[in-house]
């Protein structure tokens, strides 16, 4: 498709602005002005609408395709959530920061406070900050909170421990927050190797970052023991909430020894992923870390009024411009009150049921490195198909031709040729069955006609792209 800039006709306009009702101002001095207007598109409203409508049709999405992208929890996003968010569009965030401004923002501040309370209950934490803007941002915030905690205690800490199955954001966030990383290998049963973990733990460890269930979809039965060992070194336990969708109402990270948690609202709490974002990554903490939470902190006074607390000397400060991705939080809040207690438990149960169903059905056709009950996702390996020269990526591309968004491939790194499938609770048995049939077809094609898999996809507007050329030429903006 042509770029929007390639459709520009000088002088064409997509929107009419209001006429001025004030006198024209004196021109700015020449040295402050740009020489030429920015070469933005020049298209009519219809050109604009047709262009972006047609572009949108070149995407797979949850609303058009089954999208079992492991670790991303691509559940259906209820339409009413969008309507709810639009109710809050006109509210300026600075209003709350004006003198006595909180009084004019009781709805929005109260909603953030309530969301924090509900997330605290779901995760077993004592208080939640809604400021972090995405999961990784929550991780960084959480590690900075841990760092502030150790500083206040005079602890000398240098390291953060992560299992080798962790999301890449875990070590990246800890590194950005100033720590060195110790990576603990996984044991043959898929969880972090307990003996190697014990050896890694010293008094210099600030935190242990884990996701539980982990990225191969397994709940670590030794989690309490791991937390106890970490705490014996005054290291804090960080919970990566990316996989929270498996356990709502079943187990609370705060109960099993975690001290800090981030929650990906765009995963577990049904807010759309937006083609890459916005997400939202509220962080929950145990009591000992409350003094360090970001500012401004939303509190409820004795009269039931919501206020912003800014005079908190121990705080790590601001982590975002205002109060977080508010519109995303509106959707998550509406999702939680709509599903309610039973609905959230049911969501986790069905997510786990769906994943185990796919796991059982595909087990005869694909290598299952950890053959045990999984939680919300299951991880296969394409190692059997590799014997015929077929890689996980080839199976992924075949699925595209059949109308399925591929699962996550090549992650987690500890599984060779990984295929990570997360169906979520919003998919029906019929959808899962149809997907399983196509996966079986792919496995059979790997044996009978590997070339067909190498050639896929054939039904898309483009075939496999030359990624080396993209990286070499670095053409990241249209020069024409």
């Amino acid at each position: 498709m042509r770029l929007i800039y390639e459709q520009s006709i000088p002088g064409r306009r997509g929107v009419k602005l209001p006429a001025s009702d004030v006198p024209a101002s004196a021109p700015l001095p020449e040295n402050l002005l740009r020489k030429e207007p920015a070469a933005l598109a020049e298209v009519s409203e219809l050109d604009l609408v047709r262009h972006f409508t047609n572009l949108s049709r070149r995407n797979f999405s949850v609303d058009t395709n089954f999208y079992p992208l492991g670790s991303c929890t691509m559940k259906y996003n209820a339409k009413v959530l969008e309507n709810a968010a639009s109710l809050f569009a006109p509210f300026h965030p600075m209003t709350a920061l004006l003198p006595d401004g909180e009084g004019f923002c009781q709805g929005t501040l109260g909603m953030l406070y309530d969301l924090g309370q509900m997330l605290a209950d779901i995760t077993g934490m004592d208080e939640v900050t809604t400021q972090p803007l995405a999961g990784a941002h929550g991780e960084m915030t959480g590690i900075l909170l841990i760092s502030a905690y150790h500083r206040a205690k005079g602890n000398k800490k240098k390291y953060v421990v992560v299992p080798d199955s962790s999301h890449g954001t875990n070590p990246a966030s800890a590194a950005i927050a100033g720590y060195e990383i110790i990576t603990v290998p996984s044991a043959p049963y898929g969880d972090m190797d307990l003996e190697l973990f014990k050896k890694a733990m010293t008094d210099e460890v600030a935190a242990v970052m884990m996701t539980c269930p982990n990225t191969v979809g397994l709940f670590n039965p030794h989690i309490k023991e791991i937390a106890d060992i970490a705490h014996s070194h005054d290291a804090l336990m960080y919970y990566d909430g990316a996989n929270l969708n498996a356990i709502m109402g079943k187990v609370k990270p705060g109960d099993v020894g975690f001290d800090v948690i981030h929650v990906n609202l765009h995963k577990t709490f049904g807010t759309p992923h937006g083609g890459g974002g916005p997400g939202s990554g509220p962080v929950g903490v145990k009591k000992a870390l409350i003094p360090f939470l970001p500012q401004p902190r939303i509190v409820m006074d004795d009269g039931g009024q919501f206020r912003l607390e800014t005079a908190n000397p121990g705080s790590i400060g601001r982590t975002a411009g205002f109060f977080g991705n508010f519109g995303v939080m509106v959707k998550a809040y509406a999702y939680i009150i709509m599903l309610g207690r039973e609905g959230l438990i049911q969501a986790s149960e069905q997510a786990v049921l769906n994943a185990n169903y796919i796991k059982e059905r595909l087990k005869p056709y694909y290598e299952l490195p950890y053959d045990t009950t999984c939680m919300h996702e299951c991880v296969f390996s394409a190692s059997r198909q590799l014997a015929h020269g077929v890689h996980a990526i080839d199976i992924a591309k075949y699925l595209i031709d059949r109308g399925y968004h591929p699962p996550t491939v090549y992650f987690p790194l500890i599984v060779k040729e990984a295929i990570m499938i997360e169906p979520t609770e919003t998919e029906s048995k019929a959808t899962l069955d149809a997907f399983v049939e196509v996966m079986i077809e792919a496995a059979k094609a790997a044996e009978s006609d590997p070339q067909a898999l190498h050639d896929a996809p054939l039904t898309m507007p483009i075939g496999r792209l030359d990624e080396t050329k993209a990286a070499r030429e670095q053409n990241v903006c249209c020069l024409g």
């Binding site: 101002s25 572009l55 779901i122 411009g321 109060f323 919003t426």
Partner: protein
């Protein structure tokens, strides 16, 4: 399974969300609109798995670790949910006339922005890891990167960061990587929120942040010259700055480059319809908040941060970058490129920890810029300045009110009142006017000062009304 205990705490003021006090019993019949499997299907699936109940699947979680309480309200229909959200929104005061900015601005949004970004194919997709079935998102983000490069006059852009404040911090960290140095110099005229976020990001790293106190609402260039040496990685400035002053940073860029440091500028994209672009000033990294480009105020988010830089620094950029390439048949297409910088490949050695970005908000920014277009952005910038200049001259006519700037401003400016601004602003809020942002909270000796913002949405009548109510408040 242990029965759930009755609710014991009272969170917040969810008066109309009664807690369920009964022990929990799940019946799959009553809620199949989001979890579609019927009891019969669930039985079949369990038989395939070889489990006798769904509860069996949770056996890997040791019994002693299981949740003992779950104190959430009972669920409700989407209609009741929407009504509840309406009642929460109604607790905010609506219809406030905004003369406040401070990083978020009340601008027009063409209807097409909502409709097109509301295409579910855009908003229910995720990061375009599989390019063949994600060309819609990928091409749109390539077009977005192009718009940002053209707006800022720089060579390369990523596919968005979280917001303007975190973009400042990411740019500073990028400069630390590029130069291998350990000091960041920040103009005190940069938004206090951005400066606070910068300090939060850097507080555990071995980096010194030097802040230059403002001089009459402008960068104190003499003081800055005094701290510039070869330990400085970057100088961070903002244009227009938090006071509303417009500055020319070309001479500064030369000074900064002379010591081998980078100049980072946070800019307000609407102002770039008129103002000299960062690229023209010799800026190395430009950042800013994209809210004003088609994203609603929405109590502070989501918006997006943008970052653009000179090509030499592309490998040190944070976040996703979209690149153009071809398939085997030579057809043009777009992919995530230079992924070897990113956390999912490089883990702790990544250029940033960012994973999810603000893609949909960036898409809104692109649609906005494409709707307004080349000439429209100039016209919009001019409208903003004209309205602000009108307001400035009217406010300056109130006895006792003085305008801080003798130098140019864009759509924000600072005025001094004859009495503390905080009390005046608080009083006017009750009349439905957010008259400005008092500076006393953010700068010493500024209790009487406030920043007034006037966008194209403010009518002459509203500006005249502001003048009238302020005059009355000052007489009182």
């Amino acid at each position: 399974m242990a029965p759930f205990l009755p609710c014991t705490h009272k969170a917040g003021r969810r008066k109309t969300c009664p807690y369920t006090e009964n022990p929990l019993e799940i019946t799959y019949m009553n809620d199949s609109h989001y979890c579609p499997n019927t009891p019969a299907e669930i039985r079949e699936m369990l038989a395939t798995i070889g489990a006798s109940s769904v509860e069996d699947l949770f056996a890997p979680i040791p019994a002693e670790l299981r949740a003992k309480t779950f104190n959430l309200p009972a669920g409700m229909s989407e209609f009741e949910t929407f009504a509840r959200m309406q009642s929460i929104a109604a607790e905010n005061s609506n219809g406030m006339v905004n003369f406040i900015g401070g990083g978020f601005y009340d601008h027009v949004i063409p209807a097409a922005v909502d409709h097109l970004s509301g295409r579910a194919e855009f908003y229910t997709a995720y990061t375009p890891y599989q390019p063949e079935c994600s060309q819609g998102t990928l091409q749109a983000l390539f077009e977005y990167q192009t718009a940002i490069c053209r707006l800022t006059g720089l060579d390369v852009s990523n596919a968005s960061l979280y917001d303007g404040a975190t973009a400042c911090a990411e740019a500073a960290m990028m400069a630390l990587r590029v130069t291998g140095r350990t000091r960041i110099v920040v103009d005190g005229c940069v938004s206090p929120f951005s400066r606070q976020v910068l300090k939060t990001y850097l507080f555990n790293l071995n980096v010194e942040v030097v802040e230059i106190a403002p001089l009459d609402g402008l960068l104190n260039r003499a003081e800055l010259a005094g701290v510039l040496d070869d330990s400085v990685a970057a100088v961070l400035v903002q244009n227009p700055n938090f006071f509303g002053s417009v500055e020319e940073f070309s001479p500064l860029a030369e000074q900064v480059h002379a010591v081998g440091a980078l100049l980072v500028a946070s800019v307000y994209p609407i102002s770039l319809g008129l103002l000299k672009s960062p690229g023209e000033m010799g800026v190395d990294i430009a950042v800013g908040d994209g809210q004003s480009l088609g994203n609603p105020l929405s109590f502070g988010g989501p918006s997006f941060g943008f970052i653009a830089a000179r090509k030499a620094y592309i490998r040190n950029m944070p976040g996703r970058i979209i690149g153009e390439t071809v398939d085997k048949q030579g057809r043009r297409g777009y992919v995530l490129t230079l992924q070897a910088r990113e956390q999912h490949i490089k883990r702790h050695k990544a250029t940033s920890n960012i994973c999810s970005n603000q893609g949909l908000c960036a898409l809104r920014g692109l649609i906005f810029l494409s709707a307004v277009g080349r000439e429209g952005l100039v016209e919009m910038a001019r409208l903003n300045r004209d309205k602000a200049e009108y307001a400035k001259s009217r406010l300056a006519g109130i006895p006792g009110v003085k305008v801080l700037q003798s130098s140019p401003t864009f759509n924000e400016f600072t005025i001094f009142l004859p009495k503390p601004a905080a009390a005046v602003v608080a009083g006017l809020l009750k009349e439905g006017v957010a008259a400005g942002v008092p500076l006393g909270e953010y700068y010493e000796d500024s209790a009487n000062a406030m920043v007034v913002t006037v966008t194209e949405k403010r009518t002459r009548k509203e500006i005249d009304q502001l003048v009238k109510v302020l005059e009355v408040a000052l007489c009182a």
